[in-house]
Amino acid sequence: MVVCVPIACGGPVRAATSQQTQDAKPPELLTIEDLTVAFDGVQVLRGIDLSLARGEALGIVGESGSGKSVTWLAALGLLPDTARISGRVRLEGKDLLNAPARDLDAIRGGRVAMIFQDPSSALNPVIRIGRQIGEVLARHQGLSGRSIREEVTRLFELVGIPDARRRFDAFPHELSGGQNQRVMIAMALAGKPDVLVADEPTTALDATIQAQILALLASIRRETGMALVLISHDLGLVAESCERIMVMYAGGVVETASAVQIFSRPQHPYTQGLLAALPSLEGPLQRLVPIEGQVPDPAKLPPGCCFAPRCPKRRQVCDSTVPPLVETEAGRQSACVLPASLPIRSKTAGMSA
């Protein structure tokens, strides 16, 4: 899918590549085009298109099997060799999927950082945390010796780890889950990346700690202007922290819209179903409306729309054709043949942040 600047700026313009003039820095920091991933012949990602603008907070929501994590692992080359990946992933125009290992190593941690679920097992148990962060500083910032210690202390203070000086020599098992996640964030920030991809960063943490971590991410974004990709199964969490949300199902994108729009006027039946199934803390108490059935086995996907077997608005056409992701309004996309009343534009239509 070709990504363009919205019409309001004077007409569709192609995303600038690095060869163009320096002051025309492309607003799209990272673009993914038609990314597919297969394991052992089973397709887990069926063609993802997305773009991330500088400083943007993008939320990726999906349940199990949606491919929300696989997308980013594939983009950063973190999948095992047995994975078959195709498509294009570009960081400011530079191709990532076919980049040589040395370039990819410089980008990982240096331009795009990723943090994971369950921080206590995502940190090496036999290496002191100061050294684990120091590795990033040495590699991406060229620091060494004393300056590493100082910078790590500064980072610890930035992420709110108390007693920063002494913690340099601590091991991960000496800290709690919340503190370890702060260490991971500090480690991610050490390389001064342009994008932070957070894969379910708070799922394994207590609610009050979750609130702290999300507030921390928000304040870091404000200070550094870093873009954030927040992956979660929790629609509410993502909507609170992100401006734009992408909903994924069974290895494909089904809807993209701003956080407000997703909640007030969801378009895709899956998103609508998710919202109806979500219990809430406010508003009238109603019986939940679950989505019947379950997520399809990726090895046995239905022909046509993946969601059709569970969709309350299913029609005959849904079983035979895979609906493309198209723009339904300015800044929104949906992969559904409904509503028929909205104009279906071609894929070259614009999409804004």
Partner: protein, 326 residues
């Protein structure tokens, strides 16, 4: 007035842990003077974060662990006073389901065999009818008959949890303790299981003790909720009242931690610091180091649960000043 089906009076339970390799043994109270009552046919939720003691309370309530102090009464009978034969009969009436259905099921047996097993163990009903009873139970939890001959590995997470539920309910218990039963499930499946629990509660007149960290689900399923912090109950009351207008500062932080779409992150009540180590329990009110409203009294005196007037009870010096216990 119908007596409560389950009553916990002043339950305490401690564990011993060793600090480090050469350290001494330390005792800590996982549950500290907890008193609760659950009316028949109702749902009482226990909420809290890790270290709150809610899971331990659930196990003590069911008699899976003995309480060090205090009494557990089921339908008026003190559980610690009865003999083994009576215990076995009581087992039929009190069941439990947990968070991970896969580890709760035997991988080698079929679903039907596992749902039928409790009937065989407790010798319920004539043997030749047990298979039919088990099948009927599978149907009432929404599992299609074709699943009866499958093994747990062949089912999805939601289906497994339904199977676990069927197995627990096939003996027609009066009380079901659920420890985070939907936390590991996808949102769409969560809704299925939550509805199922509500429907079964109505049709079987079940009483539920629902342990969870997810306030949204708790609001959906329970009539009363008890908030726990570091082994003590800090607030108890009608679910709607507690969750819409929490009184205790910790309840307020918990409620405020639930993400609300569109609300700016800065408006939350965010606590400082980490949940404390139960071995190194803060003096007075255990919450005082993290409390935004702490006062000098809070460090010295442990607050008691005091009625608030609208049916709720809260244990906080700031909310109900003047009631102290040294």
């Amino acid at each position: 007035m119908t007596p409560a089906i389950l009553e916990l009076q002043g339950i305490s339970r401690s564990y011993a842990t060793r600090q480090g390799l050469l350290g001494r043994k330390l005792r800590f109270r996982a549950v500290d003077e907890v008193s609760l009552s659950l009316e028949a046919g109702q749902t009482l939720a226990l909420v809290g974060e890790s270290g709150s003691g809610k899971s331990t309370t659930g196990r003590v309530a069911l008699g899976l662990e003995p309480a060090d102090h205090g009494a557990v009464r089921f339908r008026g009978t003190d559980l610690s006073q009865i003999d083994t034969a009576s215990w076995r009969k009581l087992r039929i009436e009190m069941q439990m389901i947990f968070q991970d259905p896969l580890s709760a099921l035997d991988r080698r047996l079929t679903i039907l065999e596992q749902v039928r097993e409790p009937l065989d163990i407790h010798d319920i009903g004539p043997a030749k009818e047990r298979e039919a009873v088990a099948s009927a139970m599978l149907a009432s939890v929404g599992l299609h008959a074709s699943n009866a001959t499958k093994r747990p590995g062949q089912l999805s997470g939601g289906q497994r949890q339904r199977a676990v539920l069927a197995r627990a309910l096939v003996v027609q218990p009066a009380l079901l303790v659920c420890d985070e039963p939907v936390s590991a499930l996808d949102v769409s499946i969560q809704a299925q299981v939550v509805n199922l629990l509500t429907d079964l509660q109505a049709s079987m007149k079940l009483s539920l003790l629902f342990i969870s960290h997810d306030l949204k689900v708790v609001r959906q399923i329970s009539q009363r909720v008890a908030v726990m912090y570091l082994g003590r109950i800090v607030e108890v009351g009608d679910t709607q009242a507690v969750l819409s207008n929490p009184a205790h500062p910790y309840s307020r932080a918990l409620v405020s931690a639930v993400p609300v779409p569109g609300r700016p992150v800065g408006e939350r009540l965010i606590l400082d610091g980490e949940p404390p180590n139960p071995v190194a329990r803060p003096s007075g009110c255990a919450f005082h180091p993290r409390c935004p409203f702490t006062r000098p009294d809070c460090r010295r005196f442990t607050p008691e649960l005091t009625p608030l007037g609208d049916g709720r009870t809260v244990a906080c010096h700031v909310v109900t000043p003047g009631k102290v216990r040294s």
